[in-house]
């Protein structure tokens, strides 16, 4: 992991009251932790990545029109670290394979039972149940999309034995041509080439460096920007060789960023990064919060390209009447739109209900957890695990029955206790946000306790003092934290694994170019895709 160094580590610390931080590091990491074979500035290590639940559901939607999110229902939950795509911890299991077989059968059956979808899948009318030519026509159209690469005659021939199930003269089975099609679809869904992104590459300029082919590059771009399979235009670009050039990749990336699927992916990336992918509120409120945050992301990344730091400093927010009422903001013109934050102490995404609900304890805010959110997700620092002899699942014991929350945290502040060392890194950040409850509403006292006045003063120790989300955001932006951290988080997401210490120079270079480009996040993403290193990979070392 590449983290800025946090001072005062060697202290006895208590940093969590829910014991969720410092999760076991069960990642093998790429290359088993040793130095990579190839300079990361040239090419980054990568391995075969199994599609996440979300990616598989999107892929089946685009491939077959499947809209029931079967992977979310039938496969085990992905681990969020914080992203769902860490391939270094993926491990095939009996549970996975069994679920995939059930899923494949179910999806294939549904696709063939729907006349419209069936017609899209099979471009010909079979002359007989065992019509080999029509079956080949179907495979010619379907297989390259399912496997996301051009197919060989051998690939096609491998499926022909399934035709026997179409032509079999069986008195009790209602089999016909489409029986074979259904089986072929089921087989394709269970094919590791569909389920994984396997990149073979061809040997490049030095040992361990591999150049990707156009289709491998197309898959990289597609799953990064869309979380799904390439569309016809991207396949065409792969086939024409366009993706082998920086300009060709740039053109496709720009085209694809205009597609709504790119918006969805940007929303997903931020939700996982900032921990608000599922938050503790009613579906209606969650939807309103997500509309608000998504509108801001769309605006600062895609609709009004410019500095990405506006994600944190934007002085207005997108609400409907109900959400405006919820926050106590003026209602927007026309029932939905942007309203000013002026005089509220809010700015940007940290003023949103999404972020203010994230990292809460279930029924109230946790200053410690919010501090951890800021340190780990926005400053990319490593907050040390509490020492083992501290029970981090319990609230501070010294004054646990004190009425007011600030008093209950006295032990964390007590410099004579072992807690203060690390809690001083996180709690003061959270207390600076205490005026905002887990539904993002302003409050002057602890919920239901008028006698507990919230001061709302916060501090990032060593950086500066603040009060509320607006001033906190300003500190983070002006001290160059969020841009470097956003780059690191984006790379973690793009690589499908944590970045390593060996990649520090790479992250540094990327951050500098992000800054040189005035923090234009869209341009940063496009430049990354256009770069030579995007079209290469380094073999993992064992």
């Amino acid at each position: 992991m590449f983290f800025r160094t946090v001072g005062m580590i060697a202290l006895s610390v208590l940093v969590a009251c829910t014991g969720q931080i410092g999760q076991s590091d069960d990642s093998r990491g790429p290359g088993g932790g040793g130095p990579p074979a190839v300079d990361p500035l040239l090419a980054m290590e990568s391995g075969a990545r199994r599609l996440t639940q979300a990616e598989l559901d999107n892929t089946l939607r685009d491939l077959l029109g499947e809209d029931t999110a079967p992977a979310a229902r039938l496969l085990n939950e992905d681990e969020f670290r914080p992203f769902d795509n860490d391939y270094t911890i993926q491990q095939a299991s009996d549970a996975l394979i069994t679920s995939l077989e059930v899923l494949a059968k179910e999806v294939a059956e549904r696709a063939l039972n729907d006349p419209t979808r069936r017609a899209e899948l099979v471009p010909c009318t079979p002359a007989s149940d065992g019509d080999e030519q029509c079956f080949r026509d179907f495979l010619d159209a379907f297989l390259p999309r399912a496997l996301r690469r051009p197919v060989t005659p051998e690939d096609i021939d491998a499926y022909l034995p399934l035709l026997a199930f179409a032509s079999e003269d069986n008195a009790v089975v209602d089999n016909d041509f489409y029986t074979a099609v259904e089986l072929a679809v089921s087989a394709a869904i269970q094919d590791p080439e569909l389920l994984y992104r396997i990149e073979e590459g061809t040997p490049g300029s030095e040992p361990g460096l591999l150049e990707l082919d156009g289709y491998e590059i197309a898959n990289r771009i597609s799953y990064l920007l869309w979380a799904t399979m390439p569309d016809d235009a991207l396949f065409a670009a792969a086939g024409s060789g366009a993706l082998d050039t920086p300009d060709g990749r740039r053109a496709e990336a720009l085209r694809m960023l205009d597609d709504p699927k790119a918006r969805g992916q940007l929303h997903r990336f931020h939700a996982m990064w900032l921990g608000y992918r599922s938050i503790p509120h009613t579906p209606e409120l969650v939807a309103a919060f997500n509309r608000e945050t998504s509108a801001l992301i769309d605006r600062v990344v895609l609709d009004e390209p410019g500095s990405y730091t506006r994600l944190f400093t934007m002085e207005e927010t997108f609400v409907d009447d109900a959400l405006a009422d919820h926050y106590g903001l003026p209602r927007p013109d026309g029932g939905e739109g942007w309203v000013s934050y002026e005089g509220t102490g809010r700015a940007g995404i940290l003023g949103h209900g999404t972020l203010l609900a994230a990292f809460s304890k279930f029924e109230d805010t946790s200053p410690t957890q919010r501090g951890i959110l800021v340190r780990t997700r926005l400053m990319c620092e490593d907050v040390p695990r509490p020492p083992p002899d501290v029970d981090a699942d319990q609230p501070p014991q010294g004054a646990m029955d004190a009425l007011c929350k600030y008093d209950r945290y006295a032990e964390h502040r007590d410099q004579s206790s072992s807690c203060a060392g690390c809690h001083s890194l996180v709690d003061p950040i959270g207390f600076g946000l205490e005026n905002f409850d887990i539904a993002g509403r302003y409050r002057e006292h602890d919920d239901g306790l008028p006698e507990c006045i919230i001061e709302g003063f916060g501090e990032i120790v060593g950086i500066g003092e603040f009060s509320g989300p607006g001033e906190l955001s300003e500190l983070l932006v002006e001290n160059d934290y969020v841009d470097a951290c956003a780059v690191q988080q984006f790379m973690t997401f793009a690589l499908g694994r944590e970045t390593t210490d060996y990649e520090a120079a790479l992250l540094q270079e990327l951050t500098e170019s992000f800054r040189a480009g005035n923090h234009d996040f869209k341009a940063f993403i496009v430049d990354f895709i256009a770069s030579d290193r995007f079209a290469r990979r380094a073999e993992e070392r064992l």
Binding site: Q20, Q23, N76, E77, E79, A95, T98, G275, P280
Partner: protein
């Protein structure tokens, strides 16, 4: 009778068509002998909670804002021997008191003088709860870090190894809590209670969390009685095998063209497909006697989102909860019938994950209404999640009674399974006579593992309790036994031996 002959012919035909049948030869005699001497089965059920609440002694609680001093709620708060009075968590077992034994006062050792991973004693716990407790509890092997990982084989898998090749499914590993429920984090190892030989990350066994998939995996191999249905079934099974064979044939081409790391990933994937292919190529189980496919459980209950609250409002039902009650019951049904049909002889059911963040309120609200549960005389709904309940997350409902009520809900699934097994006749007795069914919670209640000094803590590996039900191997249940601080793995070894295990050790622990 003519119908039967035809059906057998189909079975023969299927076996003949299968490409590789390593299981077949050993299965035939097992099937035939099953009628005479039923095999011993073993299952372990796991609850991701402690036996009490932080800072509350065994007889103290707060319910609805009222402090209460009252015994009978701590699970082992009663006399030893036979005829002891059942406590709040054990109430679902009322009619089954002679079918299970409770071993209490079990303890995992730890080093009181050091928190260093290398200083953990044999079979001991690393001084960081929760993670440090899992390996010694389930595998009898010491933990050396806070990671949720068992460093040795777990009891259920030791029994699975013992019976390897004897049944279609080596083991049945299932989990009722399908989601972690806390935004921004994830299970990170809390979802594993079964580990194969050697233990460690690579030996962990992913549980099936979909009841529907588990059902299909176990019971779509049954040949229907009706001739036409049997013919359709035959067609379907041939098709399934052809599809899997088609995928398997790509193995060499794919794994030979990638680097070593990817080769290992893909080979593991192909190995699992091959195992599935082998399973469905083996002679399908034949429903007979008590063995019959259970009713299709239908679509899985929807997976609940994160907890729903609002400001300081309470967590409400319907979120952070995926109907773990129904899911647990379906899994218990599947374990029951898998045992009856001898589809497997080893099972594990993780009802809730380690450090479970399942919303406790639907359970708390439903106690006494949810089938098989009994509402304690003093009871009020508990806010927060299962984990927070133990840590006094609800200011008005804390301590022994709230924890005991939620533990009772876990035990209700155990009782349900035991009841089904004992009501299923087998070889002159019933299936429970040939089974060992273990229940364990994640934690005990006592001295805190982390600081080594606080008393009445949930983060404790002292005062742990195991329930052992069944009469396999001549085990005679019905007592409450004082474990006198024996290691909990000794209870597991006892159960394993009853289920046919000939060794006397599990991990670092010997009996």
């Amino acid at each position: 009778m003519a119908m039967k002959i035809k059906r057998r012919a189909i079975l023969r035909g299927m076996a003949g068509a299968a490409v590789s049948l390593p299981l077949l030869e050993c299965m035939l005699p097992a099937k035939q002998s099953a009628a005479q001497t039923p095999p011993a089965r073993y299952a372990i059920l796991f609850a991701g909670q402690a036996l009490g609440g932080d800072n509350y002694a065994k007889n103290s609680s707060r319910v609805d804002g009222q402090n209460i001093t009252e015994g009978g709620h701590y699970i082992a708060d009663t006399s030893y021997g036979r005829g002891y009075s059942l406590t709040t968590p054990l109430l679902p077992l009322q009619a089954m008191q002679n079918d299970f034994t409770m071993i209490s006062n079990l303890a995992i050792p730890f080093n009181a003088n050091s928190t260093d991973g290398s200083a953990v004693p044999a079979a001991g716990a690393y001084r960081d709860f929760h993670g440090g407790g899992s390996s010694p509890l389930l595998s009898g092997t010491r933990s050396t870090s806070a990671e949720y990982v068992c460093n040795g084989i777990t009891s259920d898998q030791a029994i699975a190894e013992l019976n390897a090749g004897q049944t279609t499914h080596k083991s049945l590993v299932v989990r009722a809590q399908p989601a972690f429920y806390v935004s921004g984090y994830s299970f990170a190892g809390r979802q594993y209670i079964s580990y194969g030989p050697g233990g460690g990350r690579s030996a962990r066994i992913e549980a099936q969390a979909s009841p529907q998939v588990a059902f299909q995996s176990l019971f779509t191999g049954f040949v229907p009685d009706d001739d036409d249905d049997a013919a359709r079934f035959d067609f379907e099974m041939r098709a399934r095998r052809s599809v899997l064979d088609l995928v398997l044939e790509k193995r060499a081409k794919l794994v030979n063209n990638v680097g070593q790391a990817d080769r290992e990933r893909l080979e593991r994937h192909f190995d699992e497909i091959r195992d599935l292919e082998t399973r469905i190529s083996a002679l399908p189980p034949v429903a007979s006697g008590q063995c019959m496919a259970p009713a299709d459980p239908g679509a899985d209950p929807p997976i609940g989102g994160d907890h729903s609250g609002g400001g300081s409002g309470s967590v409400t039902p319907g979120s952070g909860y995926s109907d773990e009650h129904t899911r647990s019951r379906i899994f218990a049904d599947l374990i029951h019938m898998a045992f009856v049909c001898d589809l497997t002889r080893a099972a594990s059911l993780q009802i809730t994950a380690f450090q479970s963040h399942m919303n406790a309120r639907p359970i708390a609200d439903g106690l006494g209404t949810l089938a098989g549960t009994v509402r304690p005389s003093r009871w009020a709904s508990v806010g927060g999640d299962l984990h927070e309940v133990g840590h006094n997350g609800d200011p008005n409902n804390r301590g022994q009674i709230p924890s005991a009520g939620l533990l009772q809900w876990h035990i209700s699934h155990y009782a349900y399974l035991i009841d089904k097994l004992r009501n299923t006749p087998e070889a002159g007795g019933n299936v429970l006579d040939n089974s060992m069914i273990v229940f364990t919670a994640e934690a005990g209640h006592g001295l805190q593992l982390n600081d080594g000094s606080s008393q009445n803590q949930t983060h404790s590996v002292e005062n742990m309790v195991m329930l052992l039900a069944g009469r396999a191997g001549g085990f005679e249940p019905g007592e409450h036994i004082n474990g006198n601080r024996a290691h909990p793995a000794t209870a597991l070894i006892t159960a394993m031996q009853a289920a046919g295990y000939t060794g006397n050790t599990l991990g670092d622990v010997s009996l």
